[in-house]
Symmetry: C2
């Protein structure tokens, strides 16, 4: 149950709406945490009801109104308490790899197509991460310091995406 801690960590770095968070999960931490918008909105409500987050309603013109969430001191305490406990093991589910594992039973054209599509998705994501990394490198102090650790995590994302691309290329060559 550390979705709540992921949310607290991200809002601690920078407050935002549920909608913002959904995008941030998708665009910048997708190599280490997957969360759907329903999950995020539900957890935001729960965190607010527990006073770990505080919401400010922002009335907008031309766009629907939104709620900007910010971590409360209690929220920081909760996050810190969690940080002290040993981290649980990673959990992953990658259906594509099951497909390849069982690929003998599949149509090889279909397999090649899917690997190619995934290759593209990883390439796109790699570029996204690299662009984000550039932005973080060029930040002025004290922002650069603030983003030092998130940036460090991003570097793992970049390495993993590169590993994927390499592997996808080798695999496409090997099965052709």
């Amino acid at each position: 149950m550390s979705l709540r801690h992921a949310i607290l960590a991200m809002l601690d770095i920078e407050k935002g709406s549920g909608y913002d968070l959904v995008k941030r999960f998708d665009q910048s931490v997708s190599y280490f945490w997957a969360a759907s918008y329903q999950q995020i909105y539900r957890e935001l409500q729960k965190l607010e009801s527990e006073a770990l987050l505080e919401a400010e309603e922002v009335i907008q013109q031309g766009k629907p109104d939104k709620k900007i969430y910010e971590v409360t001191p209690n929220g920081i305490v909760e996050l810190q308490k969690w940080l002290e406990k040993p981290a649980k093991a990673m959990k992953i589910k990658e259906p594509l790899l099951i497909k390849i594992y069982a690929g003998e039973l599949a149509d090889s054209k279909h397999l090649i197509e899917e690997i190619s599509q995934h290759r593209s998705a990883h390439a796109e994501r790699l570029q996204q991460y690299q662009e984000m990394s550039e932005v973080l490198i060029n930040l002025e102090q004290p922002l650069r310091s603030k983003y030092f650790l998130p940036h460090q995590t991003l570097k793992l994302g970049i390495k993993i995406e590169k590993a994927w691309l390499e592997w996808a290329d080798e695999t496409l060559q090997a099965i052709n």
Copy 2:
């Protein structure tokens, strides 16, 4: 819901008991699928009740009896049907990365310790995968062909573990 397909794929390559499967999930596909023993045993029962698997009870001396599961023709059909549908997106949860992301709020010694521990775990896993890879490379035909695609997936595991190790070393250097 592709735990069932992961199980079918793995039992199609080689039949085995629930206990065997738990070990195989843990030792050879943990970089792309996480499953607990409870999940695996429950799904095996379900798959058997749907006649996608067939169980043979094996009476053992010196050890508890066991059930060896084998994929039925219906199971193969089910797996093939699933293989035709586009693979769903990967889902991942890596609590350690949340910790690092929020690391400013944590005790840095504790952080270093945890990263070191994870480094060790990844190093161990890398070795495991590399040993397994050696075994697969040295198989005689037709086994080598049979394991070609599982071996290909293992190569991704090796790349990812290497990326982790590299990253852990760089991160430990950077935060020290």
